[in-house]
Point group: C2
Chain length 250, copies 2
């Protein structure tokens, strides 16, 4: 019996955004491992065991998945969005590097998914149509000073910015500091997109000029996209279109 | 008759990475518009007209698509990867903003796809598992000095980096200058991933320490991913795993 481990991205929420290769991996799996709300998106069926766990246990979850694959099981670790962007793929490889040598030779693959920033950008128009950066605003795993340094440099580089995990109940102050920093460093009224629960029935999209942004506009289900200095807003009936042109004049 | 325009991402190449919502849009379309090799990925069928055009005509192509949607046709503009990342979505919205007011009220949607950097990252492991940036290395639409500025700031921010359009026959020198800049600014042997034609039968993946990188390792079908200072390489039989840990120590 030859086991394998696939680290699969379920996309932001809609079934129509799950790729066929991810669907096929789930259909072939004996075990699905992941954070509770993501495992809940996988249908139960005979022969499939669902292993749902809480967040903040990513390494334990990874070891469990690797151990099962080493025992010959067909294991899918599920992430929301894309597994390589602030999700489970890095955690699994941390566990591989720290684990027994035999884990390095397991059949492991990462199956990409539609990551939240690209789903959110698509809803708003094309705010990431020029150079951009992606920053995880959680300081659980890195010092806050590093986040602030990156924000300042990203403004100086005139990147559009995508923020993952902007705000949680446990860390309400980080996003407030982020907005204060951006208002000062940018000094303009560039558009900010608050995209909550994109592609689900609870989807909400707001486009707000930077000076008018307030911290409570985001929660942990919100992707925040900040335009560059070049980003444009096209007003129309209904939601405006936000896009960043491809060109920058010399 | 009510027309619409969908700007759809076909993913990097494999059919198994095309989302169901994109497939459905193609099935419902009367017209598909795009760059020749991307339109070639759409199967012909009765009732569907394929409009393939060369590159560098993105605005003409966008106007044509908008005009057809305004006339009541069901139009899909196809991009490789994700349409919002260095692809057709920004071009269409540039055309909307410059075009007749009526175009603003058209039924326009962007359907995200698996963008090349995430497909390439998945093949290599999880090199974009921490904060990162995406830069288009073509200076067709922006001054080279701006690209260099962004590269320097990205190194200072210690972002992992994803480079689109690293090198073309018409612009062979830009990528050479990029590598020179990075070798000096980074001053280490961080891994660089050259991922060519990912998810297609011609796929090639190389992991090369930065000091050993040479310009001819990339062409226009190559995504280049550069690690941050924290990026790790796990050696094993076969291709190594490259990943960037989630944590940075205080």
């Amino acid at each position: 019996m030859s086991g394998w481990l696939k680290i699969a991205g379920l996309g932001p929420g809609a079934e129509a955004q799950v790729t066929p290769e991810v669907r096929e991996a789930l259909d072939a799996a004996t075990d699905v491992v992941g954070y509770i709300p993501y495992v809940a998106r996988v249908a139960e069926r005979p022969g499939l065991t669902l292993h749902a766990s809480d967040n903040r246990v990513e390494i334990d979850r990874s070891r469990h998945a690797l151990q099962m694959a080493a025992e010959g099981r067909r294991v899918v670790v599920v992430s929301s969005g894309d597994p390589g962007v602030f999700a489970m793929a890095a955690a699994v490889f941390e566990a591989v590097e720290a684990g027994p040598d035999a884990w390095r030779d397991l059949d492991i693959a990462v199956l990409p998914g539609i990551t939240a920033m690209l789903a959110a950008a698509a809803r708003a128009g094309a705010p990431l149509g020029h150079d951009f950066c992606a920053i995880n605003l959680s300081d659980n795993l890195k010092p806050w000073a590093l986040i602030e340094k990156r924000l300042r440099l990203a403004v100086e580089a005139d990147f559009a910015m995508a923020f993952y995990n902007p705000r949680s109940k446990a860390r309400p102050e980080g996003f407030a500091r982020t907005l204060d920093l951006l208002k000062t460093a940018c000094g303009d009224a560039r558009p900010v997109i608050f995209a909550r629960a994109v592609s689900t029935p609870e989807e909400e999209l707001r486009v707000v000029p930077l000076p008018d942004c307030t911290p409570e506009m985001a929660d942990m289900r919100t992707m925040v996209l900040v335009g560059s200095s070049q980003t444009r807003v096209i007003a129309r009936d209904g939601a405006p279109i936000v896009y960043t042109p491809r060109s920058v004049a010399s």
